[in-house]
């Protein structure tokens, strides 16, 4: 046998075998290209499960005639810089998709460059490239793939039913749509419009609206926003309350740098984060968005790019766990208050109206899940420099109910303003709302403080300070607390005894799967020792051993801080509230909690006046 150079067609067909397993793979490549092209509106049409027709139209940047001729060539891409192969910020980068598809189907591309005056088209029919010809199209690109796999009958044999191919296509579109809420998607398989997703705002609220469209309205009502950040890794997204769960893990989504991926990491992280709050065999609903420096990530594991490899998976996992836990803890009693949740959900509009393109696009600012006010509300377009004002509409409403329920005596809630404190940055505490937020008043603003997040930050800073001083002071326990951790957990904790000692925790093995806790960080006061130690065991299990000791200690300290802080839901006296405010002022970084979220917001009086049309 003699060696010979493979023809380009053969190379493309081999590549196609890797990239294109089934029609859904084609849809994925084409939709990714549309998103990479900056499309605001993407339409996908299929027929015959995608085998007879796949058509993806977008309103993105389009291509010039020269680019069009190039794009169907192998390894032609506009997305990868030769200087830095690892700096990948787009969905595509290998320049393989179009030539591969062209080698196993009939591929027609019609495109017009943005700002250009005329369109052009090309046909690649099972590897045979036709000429560039003029064509009529508005700016954007329309790609039609017909007779898929007609050149590779072996593949054709492995196709499942039309229905299951349609399901796979829809799954692909949904996942990409979740990662890109600001893009409108339409998917038509067969005759009827199977999916229509209006564009959403590019903020957390918009994301939640999009997720709700795909994961169900239950999720919209019962999702907690999560956020965590450390060492350049950011985890955001939404996690469902433990009470919202499914029999399988199909409603757990992971996105890394905007790319939908599958990774077992999530399974373990969710198990650790939810612990026993979700019954055995049930799975919580989550959509997690991880952002890391592309250089910290290898997406080139598989040609279909559905897998990634993190350089530092331990950190990612630990941040995920921390962020979800934090959100669940912050939710306090909410998990068990399904009744109230359902009530709120019924007050929401059945189908949230699509925000108009013009107002939606300009959206910016922080908001949380409480901001699910009907977008038809007259306030919804109101913006202030501090962010979304209408985001407060719902809590404020609820606060009024709380006040009226308490009758005439509001002394438990409202404090007289101490004039001497009004000049300090965070002002004089006036009230506590929902036993979670401290409302204070300065000369020209209203300040709202998240008591748990703020206090957690203060405790964390103190723990860190004590660490550098040479150790955290420990309070002995009269009665050791026995914590059942299982073999692995108890072992890990015992191994890390020295590090834990530095952080103020003394625990030793107690029987096969338990530890006896004898001393706890004094800073945490009368704390839930059992919960603390379980949490730390999880944290330690999730931390990779090779991360720096300091990083590990700080991660554990962060968990400890969460335990030593006033919970959402605890009633505070006026002096406790003022003390917290003063301490925040004196503590560096206290404006952000350990997970990178703000600990307070300030509403300038002028903005509030504008809100009421007084200005």
């Amino acid at each position: 046998m003699s060696i010979r150079q493979l023809s380009p067609e053969t190379i493309n067909r081999i590549a196609a075998g890797e990239v294109v397993e089934r029609p859904a793979s084609v849809v994925k490549e084409l939709v990714e290209n549309a998103i990479d092209a900056g499309a605001r509106d993407v339409e996908v049409v299929t027929a015959g499960g995608g085998l007879s027709l796949i058509r993806v139209s977008d309103d993105g940047c389009g291509m010039s005639a020269e680019d069009l001729a190039l794009c169907v060539e192998r390894h032609a891409t506009s997305k990868l810089s030769e200087e830095d192969l690892f700096d990948i910020r787009t969905l595509g980068f290998r320049g393989e998709a179009l030539p591969s598809i062209g080698s196993i189907a009939r591929l027609e591309i019609v495109t017009q460059e943005q700002g250009g005056s005329s369109g052009c088209a090309i046909i690649v029919d099972r590897g045979a490239k036709g000429p560039i010809r003029p064509a009529a199209i508005n700016s954007g690109t329309r790609i039609e793939v017909t007779d898929l796999f007609s050149a590779t009958p072996a593949r054709l044999k492995f196709m499942k039913s039309e229905r299951s191919e349609n399901l796979a296509v829809s799954d692909v579109v949904k996942r990409l749509a979740m990662a890109h809420p600001q893009v409108a998607f339409t998917l038509v398989t067969g005759e009827r419009a199977s999916l229509k997703l209006p564009a959403c705002k590019a903020d957390a609220d918009g994301l939640l609206q999009r997720l709700g469209r795909i994961m169900g309205r239950d999720f919209l009502a019962d999702a907690l926003e999560i956020a965590g950040e450390r060492d350049g890794v950011r985890v955001a997204g939404f996690a469902g309350l433990p009470t919202l769960n499914r029999g399988d893990a199909s409603q757990q989504f992971l996105f890394v740098n905007g790319r939908p991926v599958k990774d077992r990491l999530v399974v373990g992280a969710l198990r650790a984060a939810y612990g026993d709050t979700v019954p055995r065999g049930r799975h919580p609903l989550v959509a997690l968005f991880v952002d890391v420096d592309p250089r910290e990530l290898d997406v080139n594991v598989h040609p279909a790019k559905t897998e990634v490899r993190f350089r530092d998976a331990g950190t990612v996992r630990s941040i995920m766990i921390g962020a979800i836990r934090h959100a669940l803890e912050g939710a306090g009693h909410r998990a068990s208050a399904r009744g109230g949740q359902d009530t709120i959900a019924t007050l929401r509009p059945v189908e949230p109206a699509a925000p108009s393109r013009t107002t939606g696009a300009a959206w910016s600012g922080v908001s949380s899940r409480v901001a699910s006010v009907p977008s038809s509300s007259p306030l919804s377009d109101f913006e202030s420099p501090q962010g979304r004002v209408h985001g407060f509409a719902e809590p404020v409403q609820a606060a009024f109910t709380a006040f009226s329920a308490t009758g005439a005596d509001a002394s438990a809630d409202a404090e007289p303003a101490r004039a001497d404190l009004m000049d300090s940055p965070l002002g004089a505490a006036r009230a506590q709302l929902h036993e979670t937020y401290i409302v204070s008043q300065t000369r020209d603003a209203v300040v709202i403080v998240d008591q748990h997040a703020a206090h957690e930050r203060l405790v964390y800073q103190k723990l860190k300070a004590m660490l550098t001083e040479g150790g955290v002071a420990r309070q002995g326990l009269l009665i050791p607390v026995i914590v059942e951790l299982g073999e692995e957990g108890a072992e890990t904790l015992a191994e890390k005894a020295d590090e834990l000692l530095e952080l103020g925790l003394v625990a030793d093995r107690f029987g096969p799967g338990a530890v006896a806790v004898r001393e706890v960080p004094a800073l945490l006061g009368d704390t839930d020792v059992d919960g603390l130690v379980r949490d730390l065991a999880d944290e330690i299990l999730s931390e990779s051993d090779d991360s720096a000791l300091k990083t590990r200690l700080e991660a554990v300290a962060s968990r400890m801080a969460c335990h030593g802080s006033v919970r959402a839901g605890r009633r505070l006296t006026a002096s406790e509230m003022n003390a917290l405010l003063r301490e925040m002022e004196a503590t560096p970084f206290s404006g952000q909690c350990n997970h990178g979220r703000p600990t307070y917001v300030e509403l300038k009086l002028s903005d509030i006046e504008r809100l009421f049309g007084r200005r």
Binding site: A402, G407, A412, K462, V481
Partner: protein
């Protein structure tokens, strides 16, 4: 229902019962007080489902009857009426309202059905004994500071009241602990208390009871079962559910062999701890006790805030010792001592310390040290 009652009587009764009414409750009827008029008395009852308070007051009842009205609102109205006013309460025929008339003031309050008012089914309370309010108050005052506020170990969220046997006889003992410190106070066992079960009285009940005892000078009748406790103080009856749990075997943590005895003037000690702990600024920093011969040096070192030391003379014969404590815990305990001298029984820097009143053997305190 129709009756006339003197404003002072009404105010006193409402003052006793309304404090158990939660200001924020999701069950509307729990915001209400149940009024029951018969013969020449009216009774008031309020509950939060964990406990209930009933108070009786004399009234000239024209028509007996039972109804419920918002408790805090009624209380607020009565508070604002002039002293000595005669208050007329009358249920409006046909309408679900109560009219309250006093002088030229007239109020109408919305009713909720009396049948819906919850009863914490009491059942029999087989053990009954009597004790002086002052004694019961003392048991509470000397122990309640040590009650745990942390809710996962719920069985520590109250005072454990039970029988104990000492060399000098049977005792009624109150114990509270949060796992960091413990307080124990004994009283000779009142007759009738023999065979009573050990009960954990929840913190909120303890505080409610203390408030009621403050206004009373006489005696208290205590009745207990395995699940409930009742205190009858004059015209007020407080009935409460108990914490359903097992109080830990606290006797094991009371040191038996601490042989380093230190005696110090309690007031000197308290003010010294108070002064040096100014530097500690929060619970994460210890007050160090350095004792050598007849000299005790208290010190706090806070790298962020500075340092403080103070020296006081003590009576101490054992070998030198350095041991640290949470300043708050020391102050809490010293604050309970009534005699001039505090007696510390110490062992080593990692073992619990015992504190007693030099003049009073009925109370003892245990506190775990802090270490760095």
């Amino acid at each position: 229902m129709r009756l006339v009652i003197e404003r002072g009587e009404l105010l006193r009764a409402l003052g006793h019962v309304t404090s158990v009414v939660e200001r924020r409750t999701t069950i509307p009827i729990l915001s209400n007080v149940l009024l029951k008029a018969s013969d020449s008395t009216i009774s008031f009852k309020a509950t939060d489902l964990e406990r209930e308070v009933i108070e009786e007051a004399p009234a000239s009842v024209e028509t007996p009857g039972t109804l419920t009205v918002p408790a805090h609102m009624l209380h607020d109205i009565v508070r604002k009426l002039p002293d000595g006013a005669q208050v007329e309460l009358q249920r409006e025929a046909e309408r679900e309202r109560l009219t309250l008339t006093a002088g030229h003031s007239r109020f109408a309050l919305q009713l909720l059905p009396a049948e819906d008012f919850p009863d914490i089914a009491v059942g029999p309370l087989p053990h009954t004994f009597e004790m002086s309010s002052a004694d019961l108050k003392r048991l509470i005052e000397k122990t309640r500071f040590a009650i745990s506020t942390e809710e996962t170990r719920y069985y520590l969220n109250g005072i454990y009241l039970h029988m104990a046997t000492r060399d000098d006889g049977a005792m009624l003992r109150a114990v509270a602990t949060d796992g960091h410190r413990l307080a124990q106070v004994d009283l000779p066992l009142p007759s009738g208390a023999e065979g009573m079960p050990g009960v954990i009285i929840p913190r909120k009940t303890v505080n409610e009871l203390h408030r009621l005892l403050e206004a009373s000078a006489g005696s208290v009748t205590v009745s207990v079962s395995d699940t409930k406790v009742r205190f009858e103080i004059g015209t007020v009856t407080l009935t409460s559910k108990l914490i359903d749990g097992t109080f830990p075997d606290y006797a094991r943590v009371i040191p038996q062999a601490n042989d380093k005895e230190l005696t110090v003037s309690n007031s000197d000690f308290m003010s010294a701890v108070d002064r040096v702990s100014t530097i500690a600024s929060e619970r994460g920093r210890a007050v160090k006790l350095n004792v050598d011969g007849n000299k005790l040096v208290l010190s706090v070192n806070n790298p962020e805030g500075g340092s403080a030391t103070e020296e006081i003379g003590v009576d101490y014969g054992a070998s030198a010792l350095e041991i640290g404590f949470n300043a708050r815990y020391l102050l809490d305990i010293a604050g309970q001592l009534e005699g001039d001298q505090a007696r510390f029984m110490l062992s080593d820097p990692g073992s619990p310390a015992m504190v007693r009143d030099s003049s009073d053997g009925s109370a003892l305190y245990v506190v775990m040290p802090m270490r760095v």
